[in-house]
């Protein structure tokens, strides 16, 4: 309570906080680049190939351009909220990284309610999007932000069903402990029923598999990706809540979208795909080099996260978009009841 200000400790906290940022920015740049490359491959195009070797500097150049652009605020806009909104959105998606276990030795803050924290802090994104839509003084923006709010709030329910189901199985809400439970063996991962549960695992596998799909779908919706990209539905709402934004403010929205994509992918990976655990033991253990293990863990964590991000991109470029009522139908009529049934099933198996 009456903790004295402690400079080394503060610097350590700062270091822990900066590491995700050092990851997010290059990741977002590369993700945008690969989004464009992947879309180009899917669509029989070449994609960016002029700036830097193989076009690798394209997004860097884009961000530089965005930084230099004039900072336009629409005349009817609510200036304070307009300024606050992109920061809030970015804050929400950045803060979610605090609970992500990149490896067994690095996790921003090892809090006990890690998963719940991630879901809760992502709620800031909704507030930011509503602010953005409202402050823009633009009908399209308001419609985009209203859609976004109802979408994000609805899809948090199936996400939470998945999380309490996982809690029922693992009795942990700390992402690091959940990852530890899944051990470095693919058969002990979340989708295969976690380690140390004996014969119950076989009964759990179908429910867990369904839950993983539910979680993946609802995280897609929470990051506003196709087929749930209604808030920014280009063909209807021009650009939705960020129609009026330009320059660096727009870049922040962009950055947070990609940051969010990785955060939710990492959540799926942590809960079901072993988190930072390798699928087949560690090279560091084999060669008796203990320092190699955390590095390998970071590698596996990033690989799983990036693969899921790749799946998100793949889906984006192959599927059309749902309509708002269909989106709600998917959530309330399918995901929530199925999630609930899975939850009941899991509790019965675990505790009866």
């Amino acid at each position: 309570m009456n903790q004295v200000f402690d400079l080394p400790n503060f610097l350590l906290i700062l270091l822990y906080a900066v590491v995700p940022l050092l990851f997010i920015i290059p990741f977002a740049l590369m993700a945008v680049f690969f989004e464009r490359k992947i879309s180009a491959w899917i669509q029989n195009r070449i994609g960016p190939n002029r700036t830097g070797y193989w076009g690798l500097l394209q997004t860097t150049a884009d961000i530089l351009k965005l930084m230099q652009k004039e900072d336009i605020v629409a005349s009817g806009a609510d200036k304070k909220l307009f300024l606050l909104a992109p920061m809030l959105v970015f804050m929400g998606s950045y803060a979610a990284y605090a609970a992500l276990p990149f490896s067994s030795i690095y996790i921003g803050t090892n809090i006990n309610l890690g998963v719940l924290y991630m879901v809760a802090i992502s709620g800031f994104v909704v507030a930011g999007i509503i602010f953005a839509g409202w402050a823009s003084d633009n009908k399209y923006s308001i419609m985009g932000s209203m859609r976004s709010a109802s979408q994000l709030i609805s899809y948090e329910i199936p996400t939470l069903f998945v999380i309490i189901s996982i809690f029922a199985v693992t009795q942990e809400l700390n992402l690091k402990d959940i990852s530890e439970m899944q051990t470095a063996n693919i058969l002990n991962w979340g989708i295969f029923g976690y380690a140390g549960l004996g014969f119950k695992r076989i009964l759990l596998i179908p429910a867990l598999f369904v839950l993983m799909i539910i979680l993946f779908i609802s995280t897609l919706a929470e990051t506003n990706r196709t087929p749930f990209d209604l808030p920014e539905a280009e063909s209807e709402l021009v650009a939705g809540f960020h129609t009026e934004y330009s320059g660096m403010k727009f870049a922040l929205f962009f950055l947070s979208e990609y940051a969010n994509m990785f955060a939710v992918s990492a959540l799926v990976a942590s809960l079901f795909l072993g988190g930072y655990q390798s699928p087949f033991g560690y090279l560091g253990d084999l060669l008796n080099l203990p320092w190699l293990v955390p590095l390998e863990q970071v590698f596996w964590f990033l690989l799983k996260g990036l693969l899921l991000v790749g799946v998100q991109m793949w889906m984006r470029w192959s599927l059309p978009r749902l309509r708002i009522d269909q989106l709600m139908k998917v959530c309330w009529k399918y995901l929530i009841p199925i999630g609930f049934v899975c939850f009941i099933y899991i509790t019965i198996i675990m505790y009866v």
């Binding site: 899917i42 399209y140 063909s235 209807e236």
Partner: protein
């Protein structure tokens, strides 16, 4: 408690202007939407942002000079526009057209139909949020444009079909390349079907949306694939054959409500897919049968028809395109009136958009396949 809340909440209809600068109005169309939440109470379309006085211009130009202007009406189907106009002028002139010319015209018109439908299908996918099919269809359209370029040097606005003939004969390689294209294109239609047509989300988005009953369609004078999507078997190529269309075998596909109700957006979309197949059939026959001969034999030096009126109509990719020309014997027409299919098809839009959601507006507009260059002229 609820009463208090209800009385204090003032709900109002919101007017939302969609366009003229909007990604999904297919040009500079302004749709004035009255919205109750996301539901459409009223949808009015406002046109005229691309008006270029085409009809008035025609009165100051000679008959051949008008052809490039005709290209610019439905700029996605310039060949078909030219064909209609040239037929109307030739009716005034009463000249015989060499058979090879007729074949070339049909080949061009059918290629143009496929190209235009490809744009329609791709942009319709884009309207529903599917980006990739759009680029696939444009990739295939590119091949058709290359064939046109080979023929007349232009890729979009050709000035190729002239009064009494065509500007150039076919390139020696044309027939071989055209046959190669047909071979290449058939599997691509299957690919498009797999990617978009039978996609569950796409069907959800388009089936039972913007249902156009056949009576309503006929009352509004809707034509082309939009009419056939409602199950009405009406095609000028069959009902009132022009050029040499009566020599070819082809079917007229109509909407059957395979995914939902007959006459919904999906039906209009699907009719276009089927029509491309029929166009390929016509092309195969025409490419096999095309005779040798001269292509400029009948081209008159000065086009100066006698007094009279003529009306010619053709089945454009978008619908029935008609030209009404009055000649007073001079080098210029006295009056040219165009019956543009997009204009008439758009008129039914506010009728069928009512009660749908905002997202459906773009789907309905996309399924009607309008081109603003033709609506405003």
């Amino acid at each position: 408690m609820t009463n208090i809340i209800e009385s204090k909440l003032k709900t109002d209809e919101m007017v939302l202007n969609m366009g003229p600068q909007h990604p999904s109005t297919h040009g500079v169309l302004r749709v004035e939407l009255k919205l109750d939440g996301e539901k459409i109470v009223k949808a009015d379309s406002h046109i005229g942002y691309l008006h270029r006085c085409f009809e008035k211009h025609c009165e100051a130009m000679t008959y051949p000079q008008i052809i490039p202007y005709v290209d610019r009406m439905d700029y996605l189907a310039a060949m078909s526009n030219e064909l209609g106009y040239v037929l109307a002028v030739e009716k005034l002139l009463k000249i015989e057209i060499p058979e090879r010319v007729e074949y070339i015209r049909v080949i061009m018109a059918e290629f143009q139909r496929i190209a235009s439908h490809l744009v329609a299908l791709g942009t319709f996918g884009l309207d529903t949020g599917a980006f990739t099919p759009f680029l696939y269809t444009f990739r295939d359209r590119e091949k058709i444009l290359t064939l046109f370029e080979l023929t007349c040097g232009a890729r979009l606005l050709y000035n190729y079909i002239w009064v009494g003939g065509v500007s150039h004969d076919l390139h020696p390689d044309f027939i071989r390349l055209a046959k190669e294209f047909i071979e290449y294109f058939r599997p691509k239609v299957v690919e498009l079907n797999e990617l978009l047509t039978y996609n569950k989300i796409f069907i959800e988005r388009t089936a039972n949306i913007g249902v156009l009953p056949p009576e309503l369609a006929i009352n509004y004078g809707v034509s082309g694939p939009s009419l056939r999507g409602s199950g009405v078997k009406w095609d000028i190529r069959r009902e009132d054959p022009y050029s040499i269309y009566d020599m070819f075998e082809f079917d007229i596909p109509v909407g059957e409500g395979l995914a939902g109700t007959t006459g919904d957006c999906w039906d209009r979309y699907y009719v276009r897919i089927l029509e491309m197949e029929q166009s390929l059939r016509i092309l195969e026959q025409a490419l096999d049968q095309i005779p040798e001969g001269d292509v400029s034999a009948a081209v008159p030096k000065r086009v100066k028809p006698i007094d009279g009126i003529s009306y010619a109509r053709v089945e454009n990719p978008k619908g029935e395109l008609g030209y009404f020309i009055i000649s007073k014997g001079g080098l210029q027409p006295f009056r040219v009136k165009v019956r543009p299919p997009s204009f008439v098809n758009l008129s039914v839009f506010s009728e069928i958009a009512k009660g749908h959601m905002v997202a459906d507006v773009v789907a309905i507009l996309g399924s009607l396949d309008i081109v603003l260059g033709e609506i405003d002229r």
